[in-house]
Symmetry: C2
Subunit: 217 residues, 2 copies
């Protein structure tokens, strides 16, 4: 009779919500978000329709949870990159952050395909756009940390505006992963990987003054 202390929880609810979200990610990466339905997700997760319904109630809630799950995954990955004194150098830290953000391997390419589907949703649904704004904020913060550390160590030319550089890097990240996503399947991931290295090279070139002139022309 205790109001809600009675919880015969046979399974870990959050864990299964995450598993269902994973099933959704696999379907979306393989066939697109329009093939995602309660039924297809339930089948992919090895559950019944009713089970998914009980965990999420409505399809909209399922989609939002899956999106937030992706956001959490990326945010965790890039927040674990530790740049600073005694940690990673600017070049290596930036490389790690960009590698996490860009489709540098097949898993991340699959993830990028799902992102592209959610971007299309965000274009017509502000609720999704708000979540993507959070992703933007996380990426900006990680890049700001990397660039800020470069300023401290003098790895960046002193007159360079760090904020503008961060914004440029954000645009580059978006442009590069979008280019990778639109390639026909099977295209090797050389372009995103090369873009990472090109960005590192361009931004760490200020270390040696004689190479600064080369960078400009």
């Amino acid at each position: 009779m205790c109001q809600n202390a009675f919880v015969p929880r046979y399974v870990d609810k959050d864990e299964r919500r995450r598993q269902v979200a994973g099933a959704l990610h696999r379907i979306a990466a393989r066939e697109g978000l329009e093939k995602v339905s309660i039924r297809t997700v339930a089948a992919e997760a090895g559950l019944s329709v009713g089970a998914v319904q009980r965990d999420f109630g409505t399809k909209d809630e399922l989609l939002h949870f899956a999106l937030r799950q992706m956001l959490a995954n990326v945010a965790k990955r890039i927040s674990e990159v530790r740049i600073g004194p005694g940690r990673l150098s600017f070049a290596e830290g930036l490389r790690r952050v960009l590698t996490e953000l860009l489709p540098t391997d097949d898993d991340r390419l699959a993830e990028a395909r799902v992102w592209s589907a959610f971007y299309a949703r965000a274009a017509v649904d502000d609720r999704f756009a708000d979540v993507l704004a959070e992703l933007d904020a996380h990426s900006r913060e990680a890049l700001r940390a990397a660039v800020g550390w470069a300023v401290e160590t003098g790895e960046l030319a002193p007159g360079q505006d760090p904020d503008a550089l961060v914004e440029l890097l954000l645009v580059l990240v978006d442009g590069v992963w979008l280019s990778a996503v639109r390639q026909p399947s099977g295209t090797p991931l050389d372009a995103p990987r090369a873009a990472v290295e090109a960005a590192i090279t361009a931004l760490t070139v200020a270390r040696r003054d004689d190479r600064a002139a080369d960078a400009r022309g």
Copy 2:
């Protein structure tokens, strides 16, 4: 009995195919590609379901025609920008090309929303990816023409690699319009417009050597 000379064409078929595609574009920009169906498109175009069916046969054909129509529109717009001797200067030509490619007004933002939906499709369907590759080629050609003319007139620093610059601009274009698309509706379009001007400024700065140093910091 003439095999097919008997054509009592009451309406211009191609014209109406374009009108139907326009209806699809409006729905996709407003509610997303998943709300596009034979029925909704027919209603938006003021036609019956049967009419749309006769013009396109299958929904897949309708989608591909609508995508190719968007491609043709953009290709026409950017190919009309004439850069060269007696025509537009590098700065002005680049400004025009970038203005056409980026969501610099509400119409182009609506178009960008539809592009984002087709990008998501291209991520899981090579047939759409192939069309987007054509868009890529058109953009690359237009930017190559602009940069090439800048090299001829010396508006670009001579050591700068034109091809690399074109690729950089392409990535910037993708990143900027994707950023604009994910903003909540009602967000002003200052960012894409500022990006156009920033690119112009950064690339035409080489005209005056004293400003080259400022650009680098």
